[in-house]
């Protein structure tokens, strides 16, 4: 659906060559005697990408986003947005923020919330009305626009929360767990809108707990654990590190005895389902050919475990308690 969630211009104005976000050696301590929430953390987000920040609870993801938005000051290190190291009004206008908890006024309607936050961003008159209507359309909440938000479902609140961050057509969008605890339809809609914004050249930085979300949306990710970068790479490069993958195959007929397939490790789940462990030397075509030679037809195939989830757990374990000793 081609709803107009594209910004009116592309690029980041005068600072076109600069990365959208640069975090350099940021340290954040909430108390002098406490361990750092962020420890010498550096990330560069180029313009126009969707960048995912992953990490377990308490890793420092929200602290990092709060520093980027100017809600917290780093103890040391620097942050630059579109080449600017201070959050002037002009830089703030480039920035859209979608917080983890929907930050919307319950006693106002969806439309009034959009008007309110739009005015805060300096919109008014016909332009404001145009943006409010566009945002209602983007979020597909037009039917509830004039109801008070306190009566909205969780999914509607999340969608409204998203478009409040978009009301002023920011060039950099920062989202903290944008699809936390919502229904599949709302999640799918938000994913679709984020892809449309990405296609329009908006730089998107998001944190998520949903690894399949990161895998489906982001080309670049950083994994944060205990305030430090555990991994920072492109997703294809990260996934290429998996040495083995396990696939679950649904079979057309029953298989009572598993055949010997050279190199593939097979395990029966039930009469019609098997698991196959494949290493990097194997190919799917090779597997199908071997199964076909043994008279086994496959109806469908899926990954047993989310690939990113497996890597994530490996990386977080590696940077966990053992690494501190």
């Amino acid at each position: 659906m081609g709803v107009a969630c594209t910004p009116s211009s592309t690029g980041l104005g005068g600072a076109a060559a600069a990365p959208a976000i640069e975090v350099q050696h940021v340290l954040k301590r909430f108390r002098p005697d406490a361990p750092p929430a962020l420890d010498d953390l550096s990330i560069t987000v180029p313009q126009g990408v969707i960048f995912g920040i992953l990490g377990p609870n308490g890793a420092g993801k929200t602290t990092l986003l709060s520093i980027l938005c100017g809600l917290l000051k780093p103890t040391a290190g620097s942050v630059r947005l579109a080449g600017h190291d201070t959050l002037t009004a002009e830089v703030k206008r480039m920035l859209g923020v979608v917080p983890q908890e929907p930050a919307i006024y319950p006693t106002l309607t969806g439309r009034e919330n959009l008007e309110y936050f739009g005015r805060m961003q300096g919109l008014r008159g016909a332009r404001l009305a145009e943006r409010v209507n566009a945002c209602l359309q983007i979020a597909e909440i037009g039917d509830q626009a004039d109801r008070r938000v306190e009566h909205y479902s969780g999914g509607y609140k999340r969608r409204l929360n998203l478009v409040i961050g978009l009301i002023h057509e920011p060039r950099i969008l920062i989202l903290d767990e944008p699809t936390l605890a919502i229904d599949p339809h709302s999640r799918s809609l938000i994913h679709q809108r984020l892809r449309e914004l990405h296609a329009a050249g908006v730089t998107i930085l998001l944190t998520t707990h949903y690894l399949e979300e990161a895998e489906s949306l982001c080309r670049n990710i950083a994994i944060i654990d205990q305030g430090r970068i555990a991994e920072r790479t492109s997703l294809p490069r990260l996934l290429s590190r998996l040495h083995t993958e396990t696939f679950v195959l649904n079979l057309k007929g029953r298989v009572t005895e598993l055949p010997e397939l050279g190199g593939f490790v097979l395990q029966a789940v039930d009469d019609c389902t098997i698991e196959v462990e494949m290493n990097r030397a194997h190919t799917i075509n090779g597997l199908f050919e071997a199964l076909s030679r043994n008279g086994i037809e496959v109806i469908s195939l899926r990954n047993k475990q989310n690939r990113l989830e497996r890597l994530f757990l490996e990386l977080v374990d590696r940077h966990g308690p053992e690494s501190e000793t």
Partner: protein
């Protein structure tokens, strides 16, 4: 020059937006925000004014019911202006709406002005409603409308600022009820709502003079009835000084992000 004008216009729009949001907030839940004060003060008029007041007799040369009207109206102004800002700003902090404002291109003082104006609006709206109720029971005539309006406005501003500071420091909903319960209510009751300062022994008169609410109630009483236990200039001066102190302190807290950006 044009850029400067545009910037001030933006600030004005932002201020209006926060104020309108605050008005909508308390008007839409008027059963929780306006009605309780009207009912409570209505009961005060019935009990203290009609039933007990007749036995008390005149106070400061006035009918007792007339005497308590200014104090009750100002009590409504104080509690409602305070309650509006403390609850609204704390909710914004608790539910993190405030972060949307802090990341928007708006200076802190515009946010402060918007919330304070909301508190003043509710304080004066409820004060006006209580005065309306009072007119059912009394036949008071405004002695000096400018003094009445002026001290009402300043009092509402002062306690809106107090509410904002309380909200900034509050870490739970319990924290926003401590000051109204343990500080504001006793100071208001001991500020001469129900009695004239002349009734107190000399020692307690001296102690009472340290209560800033006493000055506001007396100035308001002068505006409505033309009598006061304290000089009018002192009352206005003290209120203004308190406003300036709390204003500077609130701005400093907002600028440093105390309770919000920590």
């Amino acid at each position: 020059m044009r850029g400067e004008l545009w910037r001030w216009r933006r600030y004005w729009i932002t201020f209006q937006t926060i104020l309108i949001k605050e008005l909508l907030r308390f008007l839409r839940i008027w059963v929780q925000t306006i009605l309780p004060s009207v009912i409570t003060t209505g009961l005060y008029f019935i009990i203290f004014g009609q039933l007990i007041g007749e036995r008390i007799g005149p106070m400061a040369g006035l009918n007792y019911l007339d005497f308590i009207v200014p104090g009750l109206v100002l009590m409504a102004v104080i509690t409602n202006s305070y309650a509006n800002v403390v609850s609204s700003f704390y909710s914004s902090k608790f539910s993190r709406y405030i972060e949307e404002l802090l990341v928007a291109p708006i200076p802190d003082w515009v946010i402060l002005a918007g919330y304070i104006a909301g508190g003043v609006a509710r304080g004066l709206a409820v004060g006006g409603a209580v005065l309306g109720v009072a007119l059912f029971f009394t036949e008071i005539h405004l002695h000096d409308p400018w003094v009445t309006l002026g001290i009402g406005l300043l009092t509402a501003t002062l306690f809106s600022l107090g509410g904002l500071i309380n909200a900034i420091y509050a870490n739970s909903f319990d924290d926003i009820s401590i000051v109204p319960t343990f500080v504001l209510t006793p100071l208001t009751y001991l500020g001469g709502v129900f009695y004239s300062l002349e009734l107190l022994p000399e020692f307690w008169q001296g102690i009472s003079l340290a209560n800033p609410i006493l000055y506001m109630i007396n100035a308001f009483r002068y505006g409505l009835l033309g009598v006061s236990d304290v000089p009018l200039g002192v009352a206005f001066g003290m209120t203004l000084v308190f406003i300036l102190i709390l204003l500077a302190y609130s701005l400093s807290l907002l600028r440093r992000g105390v309770g919000i950006k920590t």
